[in-house]
């Protein structure tokens, strides 16, 4: 029935445009008045809608080492001797009264001191948990933010808030915003790649694909997840008997037919489909080289502790560097199983083994290749964990204070920024919200977070939400 409607907009498409499709119109005109505005000072060109850039960029790309499940700040970057003294004693009510609590509701709140020792690292002499000696050895090159806080106390909404700046699903996540704002540096790989690994904890907590969705932005800005185990990209080879030029002929024919379809139904998804078929063909050429680790020297593999293709965080860190080298804009590595409701002491040992060496190797490797100055590396989870014990040995979800590590492009080195109170409960000195983190990240990439907006349902939707966020200038180099 397609033909008799040729030239018309299908009812369903038209209605769809009320929600998503109008985005196309908006894309072309409304949403980017900046495209037509006078060039601003300082910027530089980009291939996205933020052109020229709002500021001179300090970083070209982001590698986001997302520690999913909620890493304990009290067993990583936030040393709390006072809490150690309080172990076994009731948590003072002055801290917890009226505060939100996840699973410890209605229970007696007892302090649990750091379950592992801390020691000083580097010239800056920062106290870091001794389970993380390799990250500790790089402490003079990184910035630890000890005063993060978030709004959401359960995993999924906290991930959604971290990624998209909103607790409502359907908003674009940060990688999509960045790709939308800056465009891609690479023509033959997706500009936003997601890798997922899990640890020995075996919790297997879900990370929904919504976390790298483009939401209300065109779907070509969504993250593309590579497999961690086995073939990272499936079906990268042509069928047997089909040569590259035959494959290209087929893809050209599919795209030509889809173009005809688009001419009659005007569905913006068709343009994305056409672009993705082109990308698929380019990836057939680029991905084998990306994944061929045979040219990685043994000492590099050893530095990461990686066996390529084993699905580990270490293997993904190495792959992340290779993606970064090839110009991928936003690389997000999820490492799961940080949800230590029980036995935080034992479980954190596994995590340290899995991430300490690989995280340090990635930073070192980027530095050796001269890429660290243009790559923003972010390490952190969706929230932290309670200074109160859960069941005697674990820690519950905690939103009032936790830690992040930042390194690379435009980040001040050897700095510990902000602080929680004596018991590691709430960020009291220089608190940093998730939107502040977003604003800072965009700023380093040359984008003014206030201005990167998309019209949707009558609102100017932006990553930093209606309430906004501030660039944390004190942590900028």
């Amino acid at each position: 029935m397609g033909n008799q409607f040729a030239g018309d907009i299908k009812r369903r498409t038209f209605l769809g445009q009320g929600a998503a499709g109008l985005g196309l119109v908006a894309l072309n005109s409304l949403l980017s008045p900046r495209l037509f505005g006078a060039p601003q000072a300082g910027g530089g060109k980009s291939k996205g809608v933020v052109n020229p850039l709002d500021f001179a960029p300090r970083a070209k790309r982001v590698i986001y080492l997302y520690q999913a499940g909620g890493p304990s700040h009290l067993e990583t970057f936030d040393y709390k001797p006072k809490l150690a003294e309080m172990t076994g004693k009731p948590m003072p009510e002055s801290f917890t009264k009226g505060q939100q609590i996840a699973q410890l509701q209605g229970q007696k709140l007892i302090c649990l001191g750091p379950t592992h020792g801390f020691r000083r690292f580097g010239q800056s002499g920062q106290m870091i948990c001794e389970l993380f000696p390799r990250i500790g050895s790089l402490i003079d090159q990184t910035c630890i933010v000890r005063s993060m806080w978030t709004e959401q106390i359960n995993h999924d909404p906290a991930h959604t808030f971290m990624n998209s700046g909103s607790i409502l699903t359907g908003r674009p996540c940060m990688g999509s915003w960045i790709l939308y704002g800056l465009g891609a540096e690479t023509e033959d790989l997706p500009g936003f790649v997601v890798l997922v690994s899990q640890g020995k904890g075996g919790q297997m907590q879900p990370i929904a694909a919504r976390q790298w969705s483009a939401g209300i932005l065109p779907s070509k800005f969504q993250g593309v997840r590579f497999n961690s185990v086995g073939d990272p990209v499936l079906y990268i080879e042509n069928p047997p008997g089909v040569s590259q030029d035959m494959q290209l002929d087929s893809i050209r024919a599919v795209n030509a037919l889809n173009t005809l379809e688009d001419r009659s139904v005007h569905d913006p998804e068709i343009q994305t489909r056409i672009a993705q078929y082109e990308m698929a063909f380019k990836m057939q050429a680029s991905v084998p080289g990306l994944l061929d680790m045979s040219n990685e020297p043994a000492n590099v593999l050893e530095m990461y502790g990686a066996r390529p293709g084993d699905g580990s965080f270490a293997a993904n860190c190495l792959l992340a560097r290779r993606l970064a080298e090839r110009g991928v804009r936003f690389i997000q590595l999820y490492h799961r199983d940080w949800d230590h409701h029980n036995d935080v002491k034992g479980n954190i040992v596994f995590k340290a083994e899995e991430v300490d060496q690989a995280t340090a190797a990635l930073i070192t490797d980027l530095k050796q290749r001269g890429m660290l100055d243009e790559t923003l590396v972010i390490w952190g989870g969706e929230f932290g964990r309670t200074p109160m014990s859960q069941g005697g040995s674990g820690r519950d979800h905690h939103i009032k204070g936790f830690s992040f590590m930042l390194a690379g492009g435009g980040i001040k080195k050897g700095l510990a920024y902000g602080a929680t109170d004596d018991l590691g409960y709430a960020a009291v000195e220089n608190p940093v919200s998730i939107h502040d983190l977003h604003a800072t990240m965009l700023h380093l990439l040359g984008i003014d977070a206030e201005k990167l907006t998309v019209k949707y349902q009558g609102l100017d939707v932006r990553l930093i939400g209606p309430e906004g966020g501030s660039v944390v200038r004190d942590i900028l180099a």
Binding site: P206, A209, P239, I270, Y277, M279
Partner: protein, 134 residues
């Protein structure tokens, strides 16, 4: 998962709709799709009349519930002719292509013609119109 099926690790009220190069690779190169396209082509030759045009009509009717337009016919004709030439020059390549999957192909048919027709059905099975309901 490539096509937005929820993992069932948690409930999903609304599936996110994605549109990725991984989907394209799957539909183009996954052996099961290649096999499906080839058997579709066998059926088109068996049931779609005797000319290229009637077989096009049959393929579009089966896959898209409509008839192809003139421009569509011309695009697919070009694809068919090009592939027919290449497969005719490379019969072992044609047989490799036809051997993908488990369903047998008729050994007494001209392999180049069947392979070229399977290229057409493979293209049709990759159309946006076919793979999305929206």
């Amino acid at each position: 998962l490539n096509f937005d099926a929820p993992t069932r690790e948690e409930c999903t009220v609304n599936r996110s709709l994605s549109n990725t190069p991984l989907q394209a690779l799957d539909l183009l190169n996954d052996p099961i799709y290649v096999e499906a396209a080839r058997v579709f082509a066998q059926n088109a030759i068996a049931h779609g009349g005797t000319t290229f045009e009637t077989r096009m009509d049959w393929i579009f009717d089966q896959a898209l519930n409509r008839q192809p337009g003139a421009e569509e016919r011309s695009i697919l004709r070009g694809l068919y002719d090009g592939n027919l030439k290449r497969f005719a020059a490379n019969p072992s390549g044609a047989r490799q292509f036809l051997s993908e999957g488990e369903a047998p192909f008729p050994r007494d048919w001209n392999p180049a013609e069947l392979a070229a027709m399977a290229t057409i059905t493979r293209a049709v099975l990759n159309l946006h119109e076919l793979i999305t309901r929206n």
